[in-house]
Symmetry: C2
Subunit: 419 residues, 2 copies
């Protein structure tokens, strides 16, 4: 018998038929003797509808009132799932954010969960009642409704799991797990049985959109085991106690099953970066700072940075990447600072992609980066920039080569599924 938190996203909650299906999945866990809490999103499309109402009412809407409006979506699905569970003979009730309460801090519309009062929740669960909690929301310290920002329901689920000391937080989505790479690019992509929080953070932030990054960070901090799995598995759904999805766990837990480990867990890509090159920057103290301080002040996140060896004495080219959405602002700021920085030309390039190889295994194995570089070189893919971290190597390449590069690396690291 375990204590499990189950989380269902908007696609799983879109309409009464799907909510009935969710009720069946939840009841199966309860019937197996587990204590169950469920965190739900609003019906797919509903949050957009409510956000648009707020925008129509005023382009500068009050975040506290926005929260009142938008939080209603999850309130509706919480009540409906309770009704659907009761109708198939399960004991269930909804607990709204202000009822537990789920205490939040910081600003309305982008609140963070500080604490969840879990006593009532735990005793309800221990009595065999399924607890249903609307995701994405809580009670602000001004006594009003607060929401966590888009996608916050994953974070709610992990926070509830931490508060009730759950054995596992099962995140049901429209995919059945985390894959070694995007299956739309590599047909032989494999579903991972498990990976670490750190690996998931690297894979999520560079393109594998399965879990909200914040929720993975919280799970790592609170050591909440997450399972990612699909709510659309048909009637041949696995029994309640199997782990059919991808388990995301701490480093320690992975260590214990080291034999199963791959060197590399996955290949990610990101086409949303833009490259900026400044030519003939004076090669003197303070020049590089003059470039990056105005960008940091404007909260523009600079990712990869390379400083080329100067062609002429006392001069150097500086290249770096920023999110494409921030490119116009970044160019504007650098243009204004041209005299101060003293560069010659400002060259933007959006025709780039970042390809990343991720795996905790690379900590103890040399040669991961060189395998990457030679595999790409063999197929004529030119590398424009490189960054590395303890568990990741990323390269910047021309965007047109993205799919080729992902496939080449997937094969090079032995990730292809066997037929």
């Amino acid at each position: 018998m375990a204590r499990i938190v189950m989380k269902f996203g908007g696609t799983s909650m879109a309409g009464i038929e799907r909510i009935r299906r969710v009720a069946q999945l939840v009841k199966r866990q309860a019937d197996a003797g587990h204590e169950v809490a469920v965190v739900v999103s609003a019906m797919a499309g509903e949050t957009d509808r409510l956000v648009n109402f707020c925008r129509e009412a005023s382009s500068l809407y009050d975040p506290a009132e926005y929260d009142v409006v938008v939080a209603s979506g999850e309130q509706v699905t919480s009540g409906l799932l309770a009704i659907a569970l009761q109708s198939i003979g399960a004991k269930a009730r909804s607990w709204l954010g202000w009822q537990l309460p789920v205490r939040t801090i910081e600003a309305h519309s982008k609140a963070r969960i500080e604490e969840i009062e879990s006593d009532a929740l735990i005793s309800a669960m221990q009595s065999g009642e399924i607890a249903i909690i609307p995701g994405f929301q809580g009670l602000s310290d001004d006594g009003r409704v607060a929401t966590l920002g888009r996608g916050g329901s994953d974070t709610s689920a992990v926070a509830v799991a931490a508060a009730v000391k759950a054995d596992r937080c099962d995140i049901y989505t429209d995919v059945d797990g985390v894959y070694t790479t995007d299956p739309r690019i590599v047909a032989k992509a494999r579903k991972l049985k498990q990976l670490t929080f750190e690996e998931m953070l690297e894979l999520a932030s560079v393109g594998a959109k399965v879990l909200q990054t914040r929720s993975v960070g919280l799970a790592m901090k609170e050591n909440v085991r997450i399972q990612v799995l699909s709510s659309f598995t048909g009637d041949d759904a696995p029994p309640a106690d199997s782990l059919p999805g991808t388990l995301i766990v701490s480093d320690d837990e992975v260590e214990e099953s080291e034999m199963e480990r791959q060197l590399i867990s996955g290949i990610a890509y990101d086409k949303n970066e833009a490259k900026i090159t400044l030519t003939r920057v004076p090669d003197k103290p303070g020049a590089v700072a003059a470039i990056f301080i105005p960008l940091a002040d404007a909260a523009i996140n600079v990712d990869m940075i390379i400083q080329n060896v100067g062609r002429d004495k006392g001069e150097t080219d500086v290249t770096f990447t920023v999110p494409q959405a921030d490119l116009p602002r970044a160019l504007d700021l650098l243009d204004q600072a041209q005299d101060e920085i003293g560069y010659n030309r400002l060259i933007p390039d959006t025709n780039v992609a970042k390809i990343s190889v991720v795996g905790v295994g690379m900590r103890s194995h040399a040669g991961v980066a060189s395998t990457m570089f030679s595999a790409l070189a063999d197929r004529g893919v030119n590398i424009q920039a490189i960054t590395t971290s303890e568990i990741k190597v990323s390269v910047l390449i021309e965007e047109d080569y993205t799919e080729l590069a992902v496939r080449v690396l997937h094969t090079a690291y032995g990730l292809d599924a066997e037929d």
Copy 2:
């Protein structure tokens, strides 16, 4: 300067454009220096949508979870009206039912308001902030969301007005006041400047669907002055301090302006009654009780009752009316009780209408009933039954004569508007 509660129904809140228009009406009152609280309904159609979700999820839904789902409609419009008011420069915030709280008692989905904690509300209003309160809902004594039953927002508005000791509760609807009768039947129907709570109760319960009956009863008990007026008056809306609608006030207040009083305030009609006649009921003690006790036990509301003089010695015919919706059940019960009652035949008739003449003035004037009977007789309208109260005379007639009877009486009591 006054303290005013304004209430807007679902039609007035249907979409952002209309919410903007409501914001203008509210701001005009605030700009005139009044302290303002606003009670809102859900967008027209939204409550139906949410109720249908519950019904789809389970035909036997849990009323407590139904309340969680359905209360979200007013939560949304509360937040949106706050945003719309802020966008035109007014100070405003929403106060949800659980925040004040609006304490309710009795069952979920048909709760009654017990008490509204008004301290925070009053100090907000005194500071010049417009308080927006979702109608129809409150906090049950189990700490959960409770709703008041359909149409409960009128009642919420009156309860808020009583709690903050408002000078007036303005109910904005899609008509601009209470009329002497249905303007669709009598083109010369006049808008009433004022009438008493008792008159409004009689007019509402017999057909003039302007205000929820419960809210009028509460207003009478708490002595809350109500004004009924339209939220669709166009740009030529009256200034904030005029009273363009119909004022519903206590008897005492009307007495003071007696000169303006009409003998009769209005003519109402109701086509939703059904007549039942039992022939040849034994004229002995207990026979009538045997008819009405089973109906009362089944919560079927019997309205008009007439006992005809027996044709044969020791026998009598008994005729009475019930709501048409309850007719099948009533017939079934009476059929089962035939032996006990001892009647001969059971004759239902749905081809009837009740016409009522209402006015507090009839207390002090004789001849109201006789005017009614002779006016109807002159035009060949046969009266099947009569009931009277202190401020009302009602007759049952054949349904086809409804419009004729209403027009005849409207003229007979001098209610026709002058051209």
